[in-house]
Amino acid sequence: MIVLSDWISDQFTHHKRLLNFNNKSDDEFLLFLISTVNNLVQSIKPVFVNGNSPTNNSILPVCTGIENNGSPKKRLNAERFPSEQVNKMIDTATLTTFEEPDKENISANRPHQKKRNSTDNTYIVSKQPTGSVTPTKLQKPFSSPQIHDKILDTNLMLTPKKILDKNLVLTPNGKFFTDIRDEHDTDLPFSTEETTPFSPRVELELCNKEDSNNPDVQENETSERDKGKCCEEDEDTVSHTRRVTDCRDRRCKFCPSYDPVYASAFQELLDDTIDELEELELYTSATESTENLLGDKPPYLHEAVGPTTSFSPASRCDKLTHEEYKGSTYMTEDVENQTVCSWHDWSMMTATNETIPTSSPTIIVPDWIRDLSDKDLRALLISKGALVGAISHSTRIVYEQYLVKLESTPLSTHDNSLEGYPRELVSCLQGQPQVDWSEAEREMVQEFQTPVVGRRYRQGTMKCFFNYLLIDPRVADDLSIKAKTLNPREVFKLFIKSVFYVGKGKQSRPYAHLFEASLQNKDSEKLRRIRSIWGGDRGVVSLHVYNNSIAEEAFTREAVMIACIGLKKLANEKGGEFYGVSKRWSAQKRRGVGLSLLYKAHLTLLNEGHREIKQCDVVK
């Protein structure tokens, strides 16, 4: 005996009305249903023979969410279900119903395969050994998702677990699968409260019921397909958002493998069933009722259905076959069938959302770059620090544009090697236009050129002082040689990076540091640096600049240079001291002048070349 739950009996009444069987008896309608079911079962059977012969191999793969390549993706529980048993169960079901029509109800969700997006000839055959169902009035279409959920939950409560267990879903590709429900049924939360943590499996339930509650719109939708549609629109409703999220999660669990045998068999089957249904004129009546029903559907279903129904059956069909024949191996029967998660759906979905590409402003490649040979282009790019792959006709354009981009953007924007240097220096090294500081520099040292008689100067007015820069040759090696190949900005950058001490002194003051370093009994950052240079069998470069100045001038020049590079980047213990007019300058102006001084110092180094002072030169 087959007894169906409330909603199925509702469907029975509902369908009867929709299919214009109102003036006929229940029995007549039931007979009609059964014949339809039988037709469909007949039309499915050949697939078994083509795909998996039930006689030889009674075990059919139950679900298709299996990938062959062993990717880490989650998979659907693959169940195996004896096909013979299923056939038997269906046969028994229909047979019994036929014999005792007054006591039993059966509902079959009839497919209307005209809509190819909704392809499933899915029957839900529910068996229940005991209990009967009194036909209830047709429930009004649901006005809100919340109410909808509640009703569905109630349905769940009304439906004993055993019914769910025996629900068999038959898919047109000849594979059987039980729902994901399977052994987890006990987990189903039956609460109708909105706050209940959402369970994906209830979602499946919901969708199944939605299918059945809105049969004319969705009866040929499988639950996953249905959910896929839900995903296409964002909803305000919290519960629905949750559902959507869940659908998306679920999607990735299904990544079906391609099975050409099934796909082609399914295609044939679809064509056959469509023909049959056209004969039965089911399709037309169904579409009419779809239109009638749409007005009363819950809002989210409206939106959910919208985009999909906008596919005309023909165009959808074309699309699918087109994809298939293109030989795209990821085209699966499941796209039409059960799961929505294949790449195909996603690409189609993104395609609909995709805005027409707006081409970004094109980079104009100047002629001189176009005229470069591949080799020169490559060399130029490498000189700019770019990683260059093969330059061939297919990549040349990109590299030309890349060169333009590199030319236009400052050299050092990409590297953070200038981090920690003061703003003025960084902007200079990035090639931004600089203020001419030479006037300020002259102003700064003007008063030291003719010392005022009678005024006390620190360390006297002897013009024997100079500034020196201690340079680490490991950073830049000999800049005077490198300068021939590198661009000037890069050379200056290397120079700045290699300076580790700025000082002032007279006579052999710079050597005092080196001597100190050789003594081993003192320690400071400067000394460590000198020792490490020596340790690498190199020598310190002492660059003497701005000779023949009085002490205060040298102090001032030292101070602006330290300010320019920044104490952080130097081994100096303390910043310099300012004398004269520069005392009242802003830090920015000081750094600017310092930059100017450093630049000239670096030019000196380039002119003179460097001579390293090794440890053996100091210790005799």
């Binding site: 990717s71 795209s328 790449w343 996603w346 590409p357 990549t395």
Partner: protein, 89 residues
């Protein structure tokens, strides 16, 4: 930035013979343009990416130039391939 589903799908497994439209950022329109250019499969684009030295910026420029992709699309595609390379190459 969270990755899209398409990106996750693509980068989670070997690309095999996946069509070019499975690449993140490549939808129907760009996909068709790429196919017109002879890039039928994702691995064609991967090849270009590899020739460009796995440089995302360069692939972005190439996509913009070749099929008129916008920055978002091209960036997604480049990121997708980069991640795939990191995982499977």
């Amino acid at each position: 930035m969270s990755t899209s589903q398409k990106m996750k799908d693509f980068t989670s497994e070997p690309m095999g013979d996946k069509p070019v439209k499975t690449l993140a950022g490549i939808g129907e329109v760009l996909g068709n343009k790429l196919i017109e250019e002879g890039f039928n499969y994702a691995y064609n684009v991967l090849g270009q990416f590899l020739v460009l030295g796995k440089n995302e910026d360069l692939l972005v420029m190439w996509l913009k130039d070749k099929v008129g992709a916008n920055s978002k699309q091209a960036g997604d595609c480049a990121k997708c391939l980069k991640e795939w390379c990191d995982a499977f190459l």
